[in-house]
Each structure stands twice: as C-alpha cells, then as structure tokens.
Amino acid sequence: MNPAAAGKTYPATTFTVDPQRVAAFRKIFGESEGVPATFVTTAEFAVMPLIVADPELGLDFSRVLHGNQEYEFRRPLQEGETVEVRCRLGSIRVLGGNAFLVLVTELAEPGGDVVCIGRSTLIERAAD
C-alpha cells in the first residue's frame, strides 16, 4: 500500500437504500423497524471495487482485515432514499509491516448535507 495516496478523493457515486436489502438486514439481526446502523457499510462496500482496483493505492485486498468501524449519523437513513457516496482515503500508516488505511465514506443528500459518515480501518497484513 502506498502511504502517499492518503487524502485521495474518489468520484462521488449514488447509492439507494434498497428496502429489500434493509429488510434482509433486519431479519438477520432481529430488528423490527428502521434502517440498522451497520447498513451504511453496504454503501462503503459499493465503493470498494474502485479502491481495490486503484493502482495509485496498491491495496492487496487478499491480505486485508477489518480493524475498526465507526458510524456517525446527522440524521437516520431513510428506506428508499438515494444518497451521494463520497469516499476518500483518510490516512495511511505503516506499523511493523502492517499498513492501516482509514477509509472515510460520507453519505449525503444529492448535492447537499451529509446524512452519515462511515470510517473503516482496513489492515493490510505484512506479506509472508
């Protein structure tokens, strides 16, 4: 992983909070209503192919572990709404051969205010 890629911003994409997927989440986790907080990660995953394929970043996804996850909500996500997904590489630190990438993903009203933010720390383990 290339630490110099920190700060890079990816082109915004759109993501719809699909009611069927939300229902599947609720069923798995036994929630009765609303959009589960961790549903935000489905939007983070929608952007992942872009990041995995970025030659400037050079992430080896086969060695990645999920180290930390954070969500911050300005308001609840609504079922059926379409949001803009703005993703950037927050920071990259290399410690003892492991590289720690913080991916910051904002879900926002199209052209407008941020609804929620996901921060994922991905650990690229040292190669054998």
Partner: protein, 140 residues
C-alpha cells in the same frame, strides 16, 4: 424506550446473544455484499491460518447495533457507534453483545454507552469487539 431521567451511569443494558451459524453468515454476505471467501470457504480460511471460517466483523457488529437498538427503542436512536475488532468468531460459537452506561448528557438527552461483544472459548472470555462506544438518544 429509556427516559433520560431513568438511565443511571454504570447501569448495564440487557445483553443480546446469538449462536453463529454458517447460514446466518452467508445471509449477511449476501445482504451486505461482502463475499470474502474467509467467511464461506473452509479450505480458504484454513489456508489463511484460521481453524475454520470466521464471521464478518460486521456480522458481529450488527448484533451489537441490534442490542443497542433494542434498548434504545429503534436504530434511529443510535447517533454514533464505534467498534474495534479484536478476535475472530467461529461457527457454532455464541456471541454476547452488551454495554454499560458511561455518561448521560441530560440537556442533549444522550447516553454514552461503552459496549462490547464477548464469546466463551476454551473456558476463557474472548472479546471479538472491545472498547466499543455508542451515543444513543434518550426519551425526555
């Protein structure tokens, strides 16, 4: 739904437990879009150094969020949630999500909850999620 007047600092929220099955983990992979073979393919997981397939960190965190949501009266009550993934979870194990009230902001009607997910393994308590923290909106 808990009222800001009734929530005491250091009180615990009701735990939520669940035995993890390959079927549930597969359902999460399909719903969440994370098809990493580490969570579905025994041979792949063993080659990666694990004794068998492991649950997604997000599978475990989903139960922590559900535990908080049940106590708070819905997922929209969760304003912030953070988790550190510290140990794997294997199939057939029982994960237990829980939390304790760390602070209450009466004016903002927000409780800060320290939260976790534990599992008993070989007579020892492991912490798939440690040092989690949530901010939850309370009733007046």
């Amino acid at each position: 739904m808990p009222s800001v007047r009734d929530v005491a600092v250091r009180s615990e929220i009701p735990p939520l437990s669940r035995v993890v099955t390959p079927e549930a983990v597969k359902a999460y992979a399909d719903a969440g879009g994370d098809q990493n073979p580490l969570h579905q393919d025994e041979a792949f997981a063993r080659a990666a150094g694990f004794p068998g397939i492991i649950a997604h960190g997000m599978f475990t965190m989903g139960y922590l969020a559900a535990c908080l949501s049940r106590w708070a009266g819905g997922p929209e009550r969760i304003r912030r949630l953070t988790s550190q993934f510290r140990a794997p979870v294997f199939m057939g194990e029982e994960i237990v999500a829980g939390g304790r009230v760390k602070a209450v902001d009466v004016e903002q009607r927000v409780a800060v909850i320290e939260c976790w997910v534990t599992v008993e393994r070989n007579g020892k308590k492991e912490w798939p999620i440690k040092r989690g923290e949530a901010e939850v909106l309370l009733d007046p």
